[in-house]
């Protein structure tokens, strides 16, 4: 019996160890992008007419995007948390870590697009939708290079 318990613990140990800071970092990173998505989603669904345009809600989402794109991301990109390390958990390509400054410049582009959005988000659906292209384009620029297809 005791032998069985020890065996079970020994077998479970690697999984226990694996659910450590790396996984937490990946989860936090995905949470960050989910927050981005939730706010861009508000603007995109208004632009597409899936929900009514509301200046206040659009302004709030744009403000959140500015805040989020000012966030210091470094800790979310802890080395050892790429798709090579955790293929089932993340699509973050290892080449992110080869050129972190480029990734950061793409986040800076998102920040510029978010600031532009913040300027016009409350000015009506048309102007808001016009600024959405810049925001989505910033998403795409990074996905194209740094996210597994």
């Amino acid at each position: 019996m005791r032998k069985a318990i020890i065996t079970a613990i020994a077998l479970a140990l690697p999984t226990t160890l694996a659910a450590g800071p790396m996984e937490d970092t990946i989860a936090a990173r995905q949470g960050y992008f989910k927050l981005l998505g939730a706010n861009i989603g508000v603007l995109a669904s208004m632009a597409k007419g899936e929900r009514d345009y509301e200046a206040a809600a659009a302004q709030a989402a744009a403000g959140n995007l500015v805040t989020l794109s000012n966030y210091k991301l470094d800790h979310l990109f802890m080395p050892g948390t790429s798709a090579d390390d955790f293929p089932d958990k993340t699509r973050a390509l290892a080449k992110i870590w080869d050129d972190l400054p480029d990734v950061q410049s793409k986040v800076a582009d998102l920040n510029k697009a978010a600031l532009a959005m913040q300027q016009v988000a409350a000015n009506g659906k048309g102007e808001m939708a016009g600024a959405l292209g810049g925001v989505g384009g910033a998403c795409k620029a990074c996905h194209d290079n740094y996210r597994a297809k």
């Binding site: 998505g37 989603g41 995109a44 959405l132 292209g133 384009g137 795409k140 996905h143 297809k149």
Partner: protein
């Protein structure tokens, strides 16, 4: 300059490819190249890529209709060969002489079916693709689950590499026929006229 003098016994020039098929072919070239180039290198707002994709969809629909009801050389049944005929054709592909084949040869037919199938899949995945950027979402993406739409975007990318490979193979085959077998396959697709073996019904 007439081919008449150099044309061997039993070979005659016929009208092979009808005008609609030729127009289809070159329109498909333009639309696929444009859609592919815009997809890989185009602006991040992919409106034009979408339009060329819709054009490809329309062209494929035409090709299916033409493959069922068009003139004989354009029909799928005309170039649907069994393994025997395909292997016999493949066995003599290295002969340094024109095939004079009246239509898509058994190997060429494989290329045609593969290209059409992959392009249908490419249009299909594109319509359902959600690349997670909120601006280039396929028009049917919200009719399927989010996971499906994300997967469609992944397949749309992978299939783009297959399209590239098939197009390069197509071009390589044309170069092979031109340079090795001394048979021009491009001119018939422009003029519609091709020198073919008389003993085979076009």
């Amino acid at each position: 300059m007439s081919d008449q003098t150099t044309r061997p016994e039993g070979i005659e020039e016929i009208r092979l490819w009808d005008p609609a098929l030729r127009l289809f072919h070159w329109a498909l070239v333009v639309c696929v190249v444009a859609a592919w180039g815009l997809g890989q290198f185009g602006p991040s707002i992919m409106t034009l890529h979408f339009y060329f994709g819709y054009a490809v969809a329309a062209l494929l629909a035409f090709r299916v209709v033409w493959g069922l009801f068009g003139p004989p050389p354009a029909r799928f049944s005309h170039f649907l060969y069994g393994p025997g005929a395909t292997l016999r054709y493949a066995a003599q592909i290295g002969r340094r002489a024109p095939s004079y084949w009246p239509g898509h040869s058994p190997l060429g037919a494989l290329s045609v079916f593969a290209l059409l199938a992959v392009l249908v899949a490419q249009v299909g995945t594109g319509l359902y693709a959600d690349p997670d950027d909120f601006i280039n979402v396929g028009p049917l993406a919200d009719t399927v689950s989010r996971d499906t739409a994300l997967a469609a975007a992944g397949w749309h990318y992978r299939l783009s590499l297959v399209v590239l490979a098939l197009v390069l193979l197509h071009l390589a085959a044309i170069a092979f026929y031109k340079l090795w077998k001394r048979e021009d396959l491009v001119r018939p697709m422009i003029t519609g006229r091709k020198a073919v073996r008389r003993d085979r019904q076009a």
